[in-house]
Amino acid sequence: MGRVKKKGTAGQAKNFITRTQAVRKLQISLPDFRKLCIWKGIYPREPRNKKKAAKNATHSTTFYYTKDIQYLLHEPLLQKFREQKALEKKISKALGRGDAHDAQRLEKNASRPEKTGKTKYTLDHVIRERYPTFVDALRDLDDCLSMLFLFANLPSTQTVPAKMIARCERLCLEFEHYLIVSNSLRKSFLSIKGIYYQATIQGQDILWLVPYRFNQRVTGDVDFRIMGTFVEFYQTLLGFVNFRLYTSVGLVYPPKFDKTSDDQDAQLGAFSLENNSVGPIEQPKFQIANGDSKPDPKLQAEIDKLMSQLNEPEKPAEAPKIDEEDAEEQPTDTIDKFEPMAPGGDILPQPSYSATDPSTLFSNFTFFLSRETPRQPLEFILKAFGCKRIGWDAVLGEGAFTHNELDPAITHQIVDRPPIQVNDEEEEQSKTEDNQTAQRLRPGARVPGRIYVQPQWVWDSVNDEELKRPDFYAPGAQLPPHLSPFVKKVQGQYDPSAPLADQERENEELEADSDMDDEPDMSDDDLAVKEPKLLASEDVDASAAGMDVAGTDDEDSEAASDSDDAASSFGGFTDNEDEEEDEATSSAKQRQRELEAELSGVAIEEKVVDPKAKARSAAKKKAKEEDEEIKRAQMMMSRRKRKIHEKMIYSNKKKDAEAEVLRNKRRKIEKSGKAAPRA
């Protein structure tokens, strides 16, 4: 007989450790522990058996992996934290003694990131550890960019030092510069929250959200210390990512930053990029490393091949600009379309930039941004899609191609104000007056030979990779709906861009119509109908009670007590048994009638059946049959499987219902004829 094993020495009891235990083991304070967890990417786990992991304690706690904490024990940052803690102790001791000089001397060694925006330690090794390859870092860039772009737009406060904000802004602008140079921005979307951007760098899709340029509302329940910890890490991460990206396209990092032009709100224009002597470095053949969303290996191989092809032309190119001719010379650049082999399969995400090169979309145009348009996102997105010359009103800041609205080079002007009707005479006058003297036009006046569009035109063109018709986006026009380019189209889900007729179920419109027909009736006669019905049912009850009082009472109580357990499923049979019989009898009657008619020699008049009603009843019958079939099958499933099945049915039904609601709404809108044109 083996030795009796002691409880709590192996398995879950040993693998998990509570937060309090972890903090005690590491001998640091809770805020320091939090920082470490954030930087090292350590997160709590849900043990499979909580009771075992908690060693039978019942209070709710968070659990960490013991191995994770063990790994934290060797962290060099831990030593820094301890040093800082010791230093703080020394300072407070010196202050307590009244030794101000000593305290000041010590204070110089202390790290005060809230004042200086700098810490005594660096997080380089943590980043290297968390992201062993560059692609890993790119994959995790979503949250990093969203956070830094938010902080770049925050006002400085006690908890958010101005230096931190400035650094965030600089890093973000540097990253945008890379996207412009490498033309890796793919999609963008104007949402109510802010502007979403999606870039593809080395095959990784990076999606981030930039808030609109407003003062952000800061609520009291936001702890900026936690956010600050994240920002500290993300700043370091983005710094190194930027370095790598810049060197990969042959640029010097950090780019030269012109403080004075930045003070004049030049934004992107405050940086001047310069080529390094080495040139763009060779891209390592990247592979999508392990991730939980592992796609089909075949498809992966295809995409890999494809991406390596795409990367090839970048190698010889010295400047980030790729000439159109060069691009055309490459016949291998054509991308195969992935068509679903069988109908009904999901539509695959197509490799996106096959049709047009994103660097050429706006390359031949000169844009002018009106005073009321958001300059920053427009400048970024236009430049990222090849536009070289963007002018804007002088109020929008430095760095424009031109501040002169009348510059003859301008081909497109982006306007976001309601049109003002101007008399022709006045216009004439103003033209004669202003053309030579002022750079600004009178409000509402237009320069001929120029396309005026609303900002959405830029976004829709970018997302569809083609220039949209500008007349849909003319100033003051009702804009076509702005659709998210990130939604993957799934069979059976509502797609607002497809015509309604393609998506409807059979007979859906008929049903909807009849529902609509029914609805007013219900609402009108609701009360009138309901009351007599109620009375009638009461009468029936009373008579039944009179017949057998005792019996019904017992039954009722029994039924009530058992109702929760009463099997819900099997009842369906008998219900529609009646109906079936009804149908059988009705068909029999019909036959009888026919026979009689034949005997008597009278032509039987065809009973005119409303096709709508027929369709409806047929659909109903079919649905009922299917339902019954499912219920019968469900009876034979195990309890666990049945639960899963019910859940799936529920969620599917919910999705279908949502889609149907949307379809109904659209049908109504289309019928009323108020719909905007869909581009």
Binding site: R34, C37, Y43, P44, E46, T62, K118, D124, I127, P132, F134, D140, D142, S146, M147, L150, L154, L190, I192, Y196, L207, P211, Y212, F214, Q216, R217, T219, D223, I226, G239, F240, F243, R244, P254, P284, A289, G291, D292, T373, Q454, L479, P481, H482, L483, V487, P496, G551, A559, D565, A566, A567, F570, R632, M635, M637, H645, R666, K674, A676, R678
Partner: protein, 758 residues
């Protein structure tokens, strides 16, 4: 002592004190300096507590200091002073001495006896302390006095002065006037210049006393005082005069280190900070090596990309209707399905800031480091693929679907029903105590007999086998064996003969003796039921001790077993028809016996108690198996004609299928009834059917196919629910039976009808 009055008197003077004092002092200083001063000082000692002449006192003090520096006045002078004082104070007091002649004839002053009252000479004690305590003086507003002194005497209110005085007061404010009233004395509180100065100093955090040095230079104890003589006479050591070699060595060490650059000279910290201000960037992924993620590592899920409804200008169908908007507004922010409400703007310039942007980002960061991550497999499959493939009921025909024959006639419930082995007749027994025979082809009643006088017929069962037609029925404690007079005479005589053969055995058998030598009461008595019943065809009555609820025949027809659940020991009895013998196989049963069955092919005997079913080998006389269906209260069970499967019905609404080879636990549990299951039955004639009857008035027909292959499980498919019986006093269908050859099912209902379903 009349201090109060005195002070009052003085009070009257106070207003012109400064002048008077000045005048006085001036006058005094003119001739005899000392007198005025001393007299004043004495006055002071008396008036110390009054403190209204502090200013004057200050002056006096100065004078006193001046006096101190001079010589102390001699005694005779003092005498003179006293004398003069006496004369001076004549107006105030009578002289407290009398002048007499002494023995020498000289003048002798005889002083009055001093009345040593308390604090008569205590200058420290407050003179007129008001003893009313810490209460407002306004309480005494309506009295002439303002309190009591230490002796309990009233302290009279000081005169307020006349209107003219008041006017004068208002015009010229006396020196040190504060406008306050001393609560202790009720007099106006005046502060001297000195006191005001002290107050100012306290207010400005200075020392109250001018010129006070809180930190005087210490006078060292030893070195402060230069000693005339040395403490030690030892000569100074040499080392005091020679430079230390050791120190020189250490200095040289440092010098060398500095020269060699091992010790860097001190650099001001400002430079260092500037240096650090720049970010150091380098290619962190110079030699990147892909590393497989740890198995347990779960990367944080990415934020969901925005959908159509998040657009600033969404398609109009995504905009919420008024009702939806209201619903969204009224729900708690934490319960909302989406954290935002789709909103449409017709121009980009109209889009406002998203007010929970920071909060959302904050929550995301909280999720990143606080939320436990669990990998969840989302089943993205068609739910239909989960459903087991069941054959359609149409393919499993035949099975009973409709009620074709109704058997009416019983008054009260029908408790039991059985179809005879030939399938021609149906026997029922009910609450009215009758056993009736029906024709199964048309539902007509052929024959009936009343066997229970008061008791209901609990159970009727046919003896298996075609050679004789014997019906067994139980009413109360009696079991009747009946040959119904409906069969052809040959079979009838065979049946009668079969029943009668046992009589010989019964008479021959010698009753067993108990331990006391008495005749043991036989467990059952086999008798003739009486001529009336005998004429009807009821041939044998077996009387047992308690009510019989269940009869179960052995397949050969020689044995049958009965169950009387209420009996303690003799709950299960096995009767031998050929010997008219009754045996009690179990002396004790673990629980109340519910029902029994003989195995259809092997010598096994199954006994169901409330929770378990036990199977016994009759030959070896041992327990073979305990089957645990897991039901709370078994109502009935039936054995598949193949012998390896079992169905159990229970009062807790469960129908359980047991595979006897597989396990003692049920292979399949089905719970489709809303009320208790009363009876379960397999079809014994070759159709793979079984049925159960429930108190909810319905029967359920199942297709249950058992394959001979051991590896394959039985297929069980529910095919039909038969409803028709009415529920009466919470009872629905009491019993069911299958037709021996056809897929017809027979049910006995509590509503007094039997139904044949085909």
């Amino acid at each position: 002592m009349a201090f109060g009055t005195e002070s009052r008197k003085r009070k009257a003077i106070t207003r012109d004190v400064p002048e008077t004092s000045d005048v006085e002092s001036d006058a005094e200083f003119g001739d005899g300096i000392l007198e005025g001063i001393l007299s004043q000082s004495e006055d002071d000692s008396a008036d110390d507590s009054v403190e209204d002449e502090s200013d004057e006192e200050g002056d006096d003090e100065d004078d006193l200091e001046a006096l101190d520096s001079d010589e102390i006045p001699s005694e005779d002078e003092a005498d003179g002073v006293v004398e003069k004082r006496g004369s001076l104070q004549e107006d105030d007091h009578k002289p407290n001495y009398t002048v007499t002649t002494d023995a020498n004839g000289g003048e002798r002053y005889v002083y009055d006896e001093i009345n040593p009252v308390y604090d008569s000479d205590d200058s420290d004690a407050a003179a007129a302390t008001n003893t009313i305590g810490n209460i407002p003086l306004t309480f005494y507003d309506s009295y002439p006095h303002i309190g009591y002194d230490i002796n309990g005497k009233k302290i009279m209110r000081p005169a307020k002065g006349e209107a003219l005085d008041a006017l004068l007061d208002s015009i010229e404010v006396p020196k040190g006037w504060t406008g306050l009233t001393d609560p202790a004395t009720g007099k106006p509180l005046n502060l001297s210049q000195e006191e005001l100065e002290i107050l100012r100093r306290i207010q400005t955090n200075e020392m109250p006393e001018e010129g006070y040095d809180p930190y005087p230079a210490t006078v060292e104890y030893f070195t402060g005082i230069e000693e005339k003589m040395p403490l030690s006479s030892a000569p100074e050591p040499k080392r005091r005069f020679l430079p230390s070699k050791h120190e020189a060595k250490r200095v040289m060490k440092i010098v060398r280190a500095i020269r060699e650059g091992r010790i860097l000279p001190y650099r001001p910290p400002e430079e260092r900070e500037q240096e650090e201000d720049e970010d150091v960037h380098y290619d962190l992924w110079q030699d990147e090596q892909p590393r497989a993620d740890h198995v347990m590592n779960i990367p944080a899920p990415k934020m969901a990309p925005p959908g159509y409804d998040m657009s600033y200008n969404p398609p109009p169908e995504y905009l919420p209707t008024k009702a939806e908007k209201q619903a969204w507004d009224s729900t708690d922010p934490e319960e909302r399905e989406k954290e935002y409400l789709p909103t449409g703007f017709d121009a980009l310039r109209k889009v406002p800031a998203y007010d929970t942007f920071i909060k959302e980002r904050f929550e995301r960061s909280l999720d990143l480091y606080l939320a436990p991550r669990v990998r969840k497999n989302r089943l993205n499959i068609d739910p239909a693929s989960l459903l087991p493939k069941l054959p359609r009921p149409e393919e499993l025909k035949p099975f009973p679907t409709v009620c074709s024959i109704l058997f009416r006639g019983h008054e009260g419930r029908i408790r039991s029903a059985a179809i005879d082995p030939s399938g021609l007749w149906l026997a029922t027994g009910g609450d009215d105590g009758t056993v009736r025979l029906w024709d199964t082809s048309n539902g007509r009643q052929i024959w009936s007999v009343k066997i229970g006088d008061e008791e209901a017929v609990n159970v009727v069962r046919w003896r298996p086998g075609r050679d004789a037609v014997i019906l067994s029925a139980a009413a109360g404690e009696d079991i009747f064996l009946i040959t119904p007079p409906v069969v052809d005479p040959e079979t009838e005589t065979a049946s009668v003969a079969l029943l009668d053969t046992g009589f010989g055995y019964a008479t021959n058998a010698t009753p067993a003796l108990t331990a006391h030598g008495q005749r043991k009461e036989p467990v059952a008595k086999w008798t003739r039921p009486g001529s009336r019943l005998q004429d009807e065809g009821v041939l044998i009555r077996i009387t047992v001790r308690t009510t019989v609820k269940v009869i179960s025949w052995h397949r050969r027809g020689d044995f049958f077993s009965t169950v009387s659940p209420t009996a303690q020991k003799s709950a299960v009895a096995i009767h031998t028809l050929s010997k008219h013998l009754t045996q009690i196989p179990f002396r004790r049963l673990p629980g109340i016996a519910q029902t029994v069955q003989f195995h259809p092919s092997r010598p096994l005997f199954f006994v169901a108690t409330q929770r378990t079913i036990r199977s016994y080998d009759l030959q070896k006389q041992e327990l073979v198996k305990i089957i645990q269906p897991g039901a709370r209260w078994i109502s009935s069970f039936d054995i598949h004609p193949g012998g390896d499967n079992l169905i159990v019905g229970s009062y807790d609404r469960r129908l359980l299928w047991h595979d006897l080879d597989l396990s003692t636990r049920p292979y399949k549990t089905m719970r489709f009834h809303s009320k208790a299951i009363r009876a379960v039955k397999y079809h014994k004639g070759g159709f793979p059917l079984f049925a159960d009857a429930s108190d909810d008035g319905s029967l359920q027909i199942f297709h249950g196919k058992v394959v001979s292959d051991m590896m394959e499980n039985a297929t069980i498919v529910p095919v039909k629910v038969l409803k028709g019986h009415k529920v009466k006093s919470a009872l629905g269908v009491m019993d069911i039976d299958w037709h021996p050859r056809e897929p017809w099912c027979l049910s006995a209902g509590a509503d007094g009808t039997g139904r044949l379903w085909m």
